[in-house]
């Protein structure tokens, strides 16, 4: 059970339990002109940290038509540096302005001694790192005055010092910090391939009540020393194996959950992205029936 109640996007204009798409600048205009039938939009707050300009202009207009989720990539929650309050202030201003139903970040770190990697680096899965993450997520939620979701990340290495399976680590973090989970099914698949574990084990270990959002995306396969490594590039359609794992996840959760199609590089035409969202909707419908 949760130590604190979590907010599940039930504020004004909540995120419906159906598929949404990531908002990328290459689609702004067409999206505003055609208002495609997707349930909601998710944006990276960092793309809107500027004080003015076209991005804010479009977000403002699109916000009037869609429920919104803000999904941060730069907060570096797991860093042992002090929390970056400048970054948090910008995030907070954006939250006040756009009133997103969900706000999320990652179970990762990306800076040390003030130097940023601008990447989502994995943490060692240790009691020390878990305690650190719980403290930091709590600080962030206090600062923002609301609950957030945290997302499991892709990784290409494991630490010698890790003692806790990743799925136990993320579940324990959510339970202890009183935040929600954003379960990235593609990241689970990528890690299962990269680190030789069974993706189903991961999914089954996640308490259903913690998951408030799901991410789906495509990866690329790199070859390192004759070994295939899956890289989480968000540059391709969702693959069949990940769709299967998604179906399994939705069944395990016992209810439809807001699901996002992420696509960041090699951005496809908008209708391809919307097609992916339709596919997710069809699977949600098949498992649980879409809400009216």
């Amino acid at each position: 059970m949760l130590s604190k109640p979590t907010m599940s996007g039930l504020g004004p204009n909540p995120i419906p339990a159906r598929a949404g798409v990531g908002l990328r600048s290459g689609h702004y205009r067409e999206m505003l002109e055609t208002l495609p039938p997707v349930g909601w939009l998710e944006a990276h707050p960092e793309n809107f940290f500027a004080v003015g300009g076209k991005h804010l202009h479009y977000l403002e207009q699109l916000r009037a038509h869609y429920p919104l989720s803000l999904h941060g990539v730069g907060l570096s929650i797991g860093s042992t540096d002090p929390l970056n309050t400048r970054h948090l202030d910008k995030l907070k201003r954006l939250i006040e302005r756009f009133e997103p139903a969900l706000v999320s970040e990652h179970v990762s770190w990306g800076s040390v001694n003030g130097r940023y990697f601008n990447d989502l680096l994995p943490l060692p899965y240790t009691e020390e790192a878990l305690a650190h993450m719980v403290t930091r997520v709590s600080q962030i939620q206090d600062y923002l005055g609301r609950a957030i979701l945290v997302e499991n990340v892709s990784s290409y290495l494991q630490y010698e010092s890790s003692t806790i399976p990743e799925w136990e680590f993320v579940a324990a973090l959510a339970e202890r910090a009183g935040c929600g989970l954003l379960l990235d099914v593609n990241n689970i698949y990528v890690n299962a391939c990269n680190h030789d574990f069974d993706a189903s084990t991961y999914v089954r270990a996640i308490p259903a009540g913690l998951v408030q959002e799901i991410h789906l995306a495509g990866f690329t396969v790199n070859t390192v020393a004759d070994r295939s490594i899956l890289i989480d590039t968000h540059s391709r359609p969702v693959c069949d194996d990940v769709w299967s794992l998604y179906r399994q996840t939705v069944q395990h959760l016992g209810a439809a959950v807001p699901t996002l199609i992420e696509w960041d590089s090699d951005l496809p035409p908008l209708d391809v992205l919307v097609g992916e969202a339709r596919h997710a909707d069809a699977l949600l419908d098949e498992c649980h029936g879409l809400p009216a």
């Binding site: 970054h87 130097r115 990697f117 990447d119 650190h132 290495l157 630490y159 390192v224 490594i229």
Partner: protein
Amino acid sequence: MASLRELQQSFAAAIFANDHQFAAHIRSAGGLRGEQRLSIYRNNTQANFTDALRITYPVVDRLVGDGFFRYAAVQYLAQHPSASGDLQEFGGSFPEFLETFEAAAQLPYLADVARLELAQEQVFYAAEGDFLDTVALSRVPQERYGELRFILNPASRLLSSTFPILRIWQVNQEGYHGDQSVDLNAGGVELLVIRQRNMDVEIQNLSAGDCALLRALRDGQDFATACEQAMTAQPDFDIPAGFRRHVAQGALVGFSL
């Protein structure tokens, strides 16, 4: 066992300073050694930063070519670490870096082209300016015009170069199919980069008079001094026409007396 902080510091040293000690903290698994797994992060990180520079400086990228641009990005990152979780803030010193970048010494105009690209990005993301209150301005008695001070649009930048950087920029735009030649001795340019009301960013060639007028006003000089400087820079400059043009296009957004 290394603390979380020590581990993070060691990770940074491995990525940014090619330190090899961190590899010992990585599990060798799936046929890959720690160092090989680490190299995936090293490559991803460098590629992310290089791409971020490419987005801001596409013409510089075109001018120097992919290999050179990547090399420059590696050197730049080593000297100018990212200090923000917002990647948008990375790369603001790239023009100054190129100015003294030995390998680019053969391209003396490169830093100014980068300045033009940076100015466009800054203008793209700048705050909204107000509309100049022309009614209030019209109430100012004529004898006090000389004391007026104006505020330039925050979404505008003035830029000068001894090289024809606007021409260089134009012939290197995607979709440009005209004459590619650039005469590097064609002389310098004075430019105004300004965001239009429809949010598009425009680059304008300024006459010597326009440039002197806007520069003086930007620097907080009163209108009389700005006009004097404009006439010195260009004796036939038509001040009323120039002033009206800049008000009309929103280059001036406020005034004080």
